[in-house]
Symmetry: D2
Subunit: 314 residues, 4 copies
C-alpha cells in the first residue's frame, strides 16, 4: 500500500477534526460578553451603526464621473440614505475591467456627500492608501477579497476611522470575527460587519445571502452587522425583498448599489437599483424598521433646500 | 503528455459550459407563464398555500408518542398553526437513529390533527408507501434526500394529494423546478416548494438558508414557496428571526419544528421550539404578514371548546 | 430585539457544533477495525473489487440499442475491462430527458456481457425493481441521487447482490459510510464505494473529484473504493489523467463511460470516451497499476475467439 | 407583492447567467495559445517549473529557528528537493497565532538554502515587502488569501522575480487565471500556479484537492502548475498518496510541508511530514515521475560533501 510504510502516526479518524480547530485562541475582544453594551459606530457626519437608527449606505458601484455621482448622491439622499457608497479603487477580477478613478474619485465622493449631507464609505485595497482614503472618507470599506488581507487589517486598525468589514467569499463566521479581532486588537473599536453573500454551487443568484448571520452575530459579538443585498443577488429585482428581509431579521443597516442609469453603468449595472426603485424600497422599509424596533435615518432640515425632510409616507 | 495521444476532441475551453446545460428541455409546466394565475394549493382541512393566507405547518420532527403529539398539536393549534407536521417515516443518516413509528404514527397524526382542526403533512420515503400515507395525511412531504427520487416523484404525481417538495441538500433552483415538473407532468398540480437551507462550508448553522429563492421563485414559477427555518438553522434560538425574515421576503408559509419538550426529543431537539416559543413567534409574525400583504391562518370557532379563536393581540 | 423574549435557551455559541454531531452512533460494521482483513467483493463472473486486481467497469451511460451496446461491450472487453456498465433505468434531472429502456436494456446488458465475458453493473432506482435488476445484473449500482434513499438501501441490503454505492452529490464521508452501514446492517457485506465527484462552486468541470477519499477511506473502512472520473469531469479529455491519478492514489478500480459513438450518445456524450480512447487509457494504466501494487484484470482465454488475451504492451 | 411596483426590468430568468459572465475580457496573455511553447520558470539556483524536471519545494510551514530550518533544509535536500519553502510572514486566521519571524526568517532561509544548494520560495503578504522578500528569496509566493490582492499582484508583476500563485480558497479556474494575468500584464512572465485545495462542505480533510485542474490548466494556459497536498489534506498521512496522484496526473511539481519535528511545530504540525517520511515519499515518486515523462530534480555533485548525489533506489 502506498502509505503503508509510515508508522507511528495517529489514525486519520482521530484527527478528523473540524476546520479551524487549530486556531489556538479565539476572538476575545469582539465577542459579545467582552463589552457590557453593544458597539455603536458613529460617523462624523452623524450616521450610526448599531443603535436605534438604521444606517443606509447607497450609491454606485464605481465612481464614474462627477455628474453620475452627483445624481446618485442626490437620489439616495432624497430617498433617505445617510451614507454615500462608491468605489474609487475597484477590486476587479479581470485586469481589463474598469479599475476605478482613484484619488479623483475620492474627491468627487467627498464633494457629492457634502452637498447632500451624507457620510462617505469607500473601499481601500492597499495598505499604502489607508491614510489617503481616510483623508476623504468617513468610513473605510475592507472588501470581500481583502477580509484576510492582514496588513490591510492592521493598517485599518491603526487608523481612527470606522471600518466596514465585508465577509470573505467563503469565510466562516469564526474567520470573519477573527478578522475583526485583528482590527480591534490594534485599538480601533469602530468595526461594522457586512454580510454580502457567500459563494455557492448555484448560479441562479450571484452569491448566496446568509441571512442567518444577522441573528447569529447578535449572539456572538457586540459589533453591528449590516447587509449588502446587491452583491448577494446580482439581480436588481431581487434586491428589495432581500433588503426588507434583512431588516426584519435585525440588520443594523444596508449597503445598496444605486446608479442613476444602471444600463450604462461601468460595473455592476445588473444589480443596481435606479433612484426611483431605491426610493420605493425606502418607503417599503419604514414599517419593517419600525417592526424591528428601529427607524430609518433622521434627516436634519437642510437650509439649502436641496433635500427636504421627508415624511416617509407609505 | 498523459492525454497527448487523444486527437480530434474539441478543446476543453470550448466545452467549459454551465452545469446542467445538458438538460435538453427545461421546465414547461411549472414555469410562471404556463398559467395565468398563481397556483393555490388547498388542503381538504382548509389550509391553503399561495393565497392571501399563510400556511403555518408546525409540530415535532418525529412522532414519538400519543401524548407528545397531542400536546404538540394542541400547542401549535392554540398558537394559530393550521397544519400539523410530524415524521412517521424518518430519513436518518444513521441506521441506528430513531427511524419513526410508521403507520402507528400516521394514525396518531390523523387523530391529533382532527382533535384540533389541523391538516396533516408528513413525509413519504418509499414509493410503495404513497397510498398508505395518503390515506392518513392531507399533504405528502417529499424530503430533501428524496428531491430527485424519481420513482417517488412519479408516484406522488399519480396521486391526487397535495405535495410539499423540499429542496435537495445542494440542489440548484433549476433542478428543484425540474423535480416539481416530474410531479406536475403526471397530472398533479398541487405542488408547494419548501426551502430548507442548502449545504455550506460553514458549520455555524446546520444549513445555509437561501432566502433569495423566495422572490426568485415568484419570478420563475406559479407554484407557492414556503420556508423551513428549523432545518436551515439547527438552533432553536435562530428560528424566529429567520422565520420572520422569510415572511417579510414573501414566503407563502412556514414549516416549523415544535416539540412540547425539546430537550427530550428523540430527534432534532436542538432546533425545536417549545410551544410557548412558537406562540411568541406567531404573535410577532402577525404584523409582518400584514406588511407582506398576507394574513395568518383564520381559525374557525370550534364547538368542542378545545381551541378558542384567538385575537392575535400583539 | 427580535428574539429577545426567549429565555433559558443555551447560547448559540455553546451549540455551534459540527454538522452531523447528532448522529448518535457512528458506523460500526463498515469501519476499518470491524474486520481483520479488507473486504474483497467478487462478482460471479470473476471480477473482484478490493484485492490485487483492479476492477475496470466500462460502458455507455445509457443502453440505447442492441448494436450500440454490443459495440461498446466488445470495445471495452478487448481493451481489458471486466465489467460492463450501462443504464437501464436512468435518473434524469429533467422528465423530458431519455429515461432508459428499462427491462429491455437489462436483457441487452446480460447478453452483451455474456458474449464478451464481462460482469454487469447497472443502476437500480426503485426498491420495487431490486429483484428484477438482480435477476439480470451481477452488481446493483445505487446512484448519487439515491445514496440516502433508505428504502432502496435496505432492499439492496436484503438482496445477496454486490452493491456499488456512489457518493451523494454533497455527501460527507461520514454520511457515505453510514449509507453503506445501512446495507451491511441488513446482512449484505458486498459493498463497494464509488467516488464520482462532489458539487462545487466552479463550473469548469461537472463535479469536483475528491481524490483524497481514496486514501482516507482506506483508513476508515474495510470496504473497497473505486473512482468514476467520467461523471466527475464531464469532459472526456480530462478522464484519462484523472483515472490514472486515481489508480496511483490507491483506488481499487474505475467506472468509466465508453460509447462507440460519443457525439451521438443519448446521454453524457461529452464525457464518454470512444473505444480507441479507452484502449489507450488501459495501456497507460498498466504501469500505474503495477506501481500501486495491483494489476489490470486478467483475461481468461476465450474459446470463441472473440477476445484474445492481451499482452498489455506499454 | 413586495417587488411588484418595479416595472420595466428584464425578467430574472433572462438574467440568470453564469457567474463571471460580466468579466468583459478574459485572460489573453496566459492562455495556452498566446505562446507557441509552454512557459518554463527557472530559479537562479537552477530549479525549474514546467520542463522535464519536476520542482520539489519542501520545508516547514513557518521558519521557527535557525536550528529547525537547518535540519529541515538538510533533510529535504538529502531527499532530493530542490527548493526550500518556509514562511517568514505568515497569514494567520487569528491575530493570536504565530505570525512569523519576518526579515530574520528571510535571512535564515537564504543561509539554509545556500548551505544545501536549494532555491527559496516564501510568501509575501504586503506589497510594501515585495522588494525586501525579493532580495532574499528566489521566488515570491502569493498565498491563497492574497490571490485577489490586486496591489500585491501588480507589485509582484513589476518585480522580475518568479511568482508562485496559489489558488484562492474558493476561486474558480477562470478567476485564478485572471489573477495570473494581472502579474503577466505587468511584464513578469514567470508565474507558476499552485493548486492547494478549495473549501468544501466536508470537514474530513482540511480542503478539497481539485486534482482535475492539473490536466485542465494544461489545456487552458501555458503556465506550469504544481500541487500543494499538505494544505489540501491537513493530515500528514494523506499527503504521500495525493502527492503521487498529482504527479501521475501531470503536475510540474509539488509544494510539501516538511518539519524536522512535526509534533512540536508552531503551525501546521498535523499536516507536516518529518524528514524520513518525506524521503520515503521521494523514493516512491521516482517511478511515477518517469511514468509521467518527467524526472525528479537532478542534484549536482556538491564539493562540500554535505549532500551526495543520490541514486533514488526504490
Amino acid at each position: 500500500m502506498l502509505t503503508g510504510g509510515m508508522k507511528g502516526e495517529s489514525s486519520v479518524e482521530a484527527t478528523m477534526v473540524e476546520r479551524g480547530v487549530n486556531v489556538p485562541q479565539s476572538y476575545r475582544l469582539v465577542r459579545r460578553d467582552a463589552r457590557p453594551d453593544r458597539t455603536v459606530v458613529r460617523l462624523r457626519t452623524g450616521a450610526s451603526f448599531g443603535g436605534d437608527e438604521l444606517a443606509i449606505c447607497a450609491g454606485p458601484c464605481g465612481v464614474e464621473s462627477h455628474e453620475q455621482l452627483h445624481r446618485a448622491a442626490e437620489g439616495v439622499a432624497q430617498a433617505g440614505a445617510n451614507v454615500l457608497r462608491g468605489g474609487a479603487y475597484k477590486p476587479r477580477t479581470s485586469p481589463y475591467s474598469f479599475q476605478g478613478l482613484g484619488e479623483e474619485a475620492l474627491k468627487m465622493l467627498r464633494e457629492a456627500a457634502d452637498a447632500f449631507g451624507l457620510g462617505v464609505v469607500t473601499e481601500v485595497l492597499d495598505p499604502r492608501d489607508v491614510e489617503k482614503v481616510a483623508s476623504y472618507a468617513d468610513m473605510l470599506q475592507i472588501g470581500t477579497r481583502s477580509m484576510q488581507n492582514f496588513p490591510l487589517l492592521r493598517e485599518a486598525g491603526d487608523s481612527d476611522m470606522p471600518v466596514l468589514l465585508k465577509r470573505g467569499l467563503s469565510a466562516t463566521v469564526q474567520e470573519w470575527l477573527l478578522a475583526a479581532e485583528y482590527i480591534v486588537l490594534r485599538g480601533n473599536d469602530n468595526v461594522v460587519l457586512c454580510e454580502r453573500g457567500v459563494r455557492s454551487f448555484d448560479v441562479a443568484t450571484r452569491n448566496l445571502l446568509d441571512i442567518a448571520v444577522v441573528p447569529l452575530l447578535e449572539e456572538l459579538t457586540h459589533l453591528p452587522v449590516i447587509v449588502d443585498p446587491s452583491h448577494a443577488m446580482g439581480i436588481a429585482r431581487l434586491v428589495p425583498p432581500v433588503a426588507i428581509a434583512s431588516v426584519a431579521a435585525g440588520a443594523h443597516g444596508l449597503l445598496i448599489e444605486v446608479h442613476p442609469d444602471p444600463p450604462n453603468a461601468l460595473s455592476d449595472g445588473a444589480q443596481s437599483l435606479d433612484c426611483a426603485q431605491f426610493d420605493r424600497l425606502m418607503r417599503r422599509l419604514m414599517p419593517v424598521a419600525e417592526f424591528a424596533g428601529r427607524r430609518l435615518p433622521q434627516r436634519a432640515d437642510r437650509t439649502d433646500g436641496v433635500v427636504s425632510a421627508r415624511g416617509y409616507e407609505a
